[in-house]
Symmetry: C2
Subunit: 272 residues, 2 copies
């Protein structure tokens, strides 16, 4: 029965644990009435470690709620040890590997996963270079090499440009710059000069005046900058600019950086 007592949840991995956490948490969002106490154990690489975890899990199972165990462990001996536990074992690799072996006509390697390891060195290095680029081009700091950008996020202050830029760089290796719109930009005709050659790379962010005012207030309480009036003016002006120049945009007030990034990748045709 769903209730107050949190269900113990384990994310077990012989690697970083990222995959177990990602799918595990996605599955748990389907159960909004339950509470969970989460534990991630990455880098499990011996049967002894696995046996210790089984003992902990069995202890909890004996005391109360059955622990849920999401595992992406690949190695056969560690998997067999974990499989003996009295938790509800959700084996995210073993469950699907057989179907893929059939479809691909290849046997699974059984090697511990390094899906979040260095992997393709060229691709990894391009992500690191993209982070460096994003740092250098944050908030219009440097207008050098704007032509190298694959996307330029444009928005008034505090609409989410910086974290979205970082996410695009870190996760997708996208060369993303961002450029702040300020009052002077709204007084003038047209786009800010540095953006003009690159209008087709621009993607706009907007927000709701209330939300923006709230975020700005955390930074500078009782300032004109944070006032509802100023926020409303900037957002209306920015949206007018986007529309006038055919710049696609979205409202960051009710979506996450992950959702913004997915939308930007799709609309700007930046998927690998």
């Amino acid at each position: 029965m769903p209730g107050e007592e949190p269900h113990p949840v384990y994310f077990l991995s012989d690697s970083t644990g990222i995959t177990a956490e990602t799918l595990g948490n996605t599955l748990l969002t389907q159960f909004p009435a339950s509470n969970f106490a989460r534990t991630t154990v990455p880098f499990i690489d011996t049967v002894e470690q696995a046996q210790e975890l089984v003992n902990v899990i069995d202890g909890q199972a004996a005391e109360g709620l059955t622990p849920i165990v999401f595992s992406t462990v690949v190695g056969a001996d560690i998997r067999q040890t974990l499989a003996t536990c009295k938790g509800a074992m959700v084996d995210l690799i073993g469950t699907h590997v057989g179907q893929l072996e059939l479809a691909l006509g290849e046997q699974a390697s059984g090697e511990p996963g390094r899906a979040h390891g260095l992997g393709n060195a060229v691709r990894y290095q391009s992500r690191m270079t993209a982070v460096e680029y994003a740092m250098e081009h944050d908030d219009g700091q440097s207008l050098r090499a704007l032509e190298k950008a694959q996307v330029i996020l444009v928005a008034p202050s505090r609409c989410g440009k910086t974290p979205t830029t970082m996410y695009l760089a870190l996760q997708h290796g996208i060369f993303a710059a961002n450029f702040p719109l300020v009052d002077e930009d709204f007084d003038r005709e047209g786009l800010p000069a540095p953006l003009r050659p690159f209008v087709e790379k621009c993607f706009g962010l907007t927000s709701n005046p209330q939300r923006l005012s709230q975020i700005r207030t955390e930074r500078r309480r009782d300032s004109a900058y944070a006032s509802l009036r100023q926020c409303g003016f900037e957002l209306r002006s920015a949206e007018r600019l986007y529309v006038a120049h055919g710049i696609p945009y979205l409202n960051s007030a009710s979506v996450s950086i992950e959702e913004m990034a997915a939308t930007i990748l799709q609309q700007m045709h930046l998927r690998d």
Copy 2:
């Protein structure tokens, strides 16, 4: 049979597609002999869109290799439509939800997932604040509020401090600062002064001289900074400093930022 021709792979989602990509790619790393041509389709929210995808997938299935389809679609009508396709359908939600319903005694909501949406607003906001903190405290730029850091990454230039800091902030909401070690730090006795009050928050990075020299050469060719001799000196000195002050450290040369972050979270006890 594994071969030259790439297997079409689809990651389908009614949300961002992040979960489908993460588990799908983890599973595919088990099949190193096969080639894949990947397509992610996020935000599938109508049966018509689903039917169009089925047509594309069936067209490919008729022509050659069976497409592999990883789906995290939750909505029943879209799932049913996708299930009619002639690809190998790996339903990452449907496969596991029944087991969880039993273990939790709660029925799955069936609502499209927002595992990567705003979710818990407090947690989301703390991630955004952590990104801002990481930007302000990158590369020892600001020594203000170093006491707020949960971890301070310490290393010579180009050992991976910045991207690892950003990853800890973005993905885990960790307040991470980073601090560069330079020649003067090695000449003096003890830790650099700004770090002394916070030695228990420090985590060191090191690298291999060859790897570091290669990375520095990309930035400044033929410089003393990039020379093997200088890189070797800095890395040896940094490691000596870490050992002398009991600072845990790891070598970033052969691990990814995801692996470094997972290790840092574990060793510094920073897991939620």
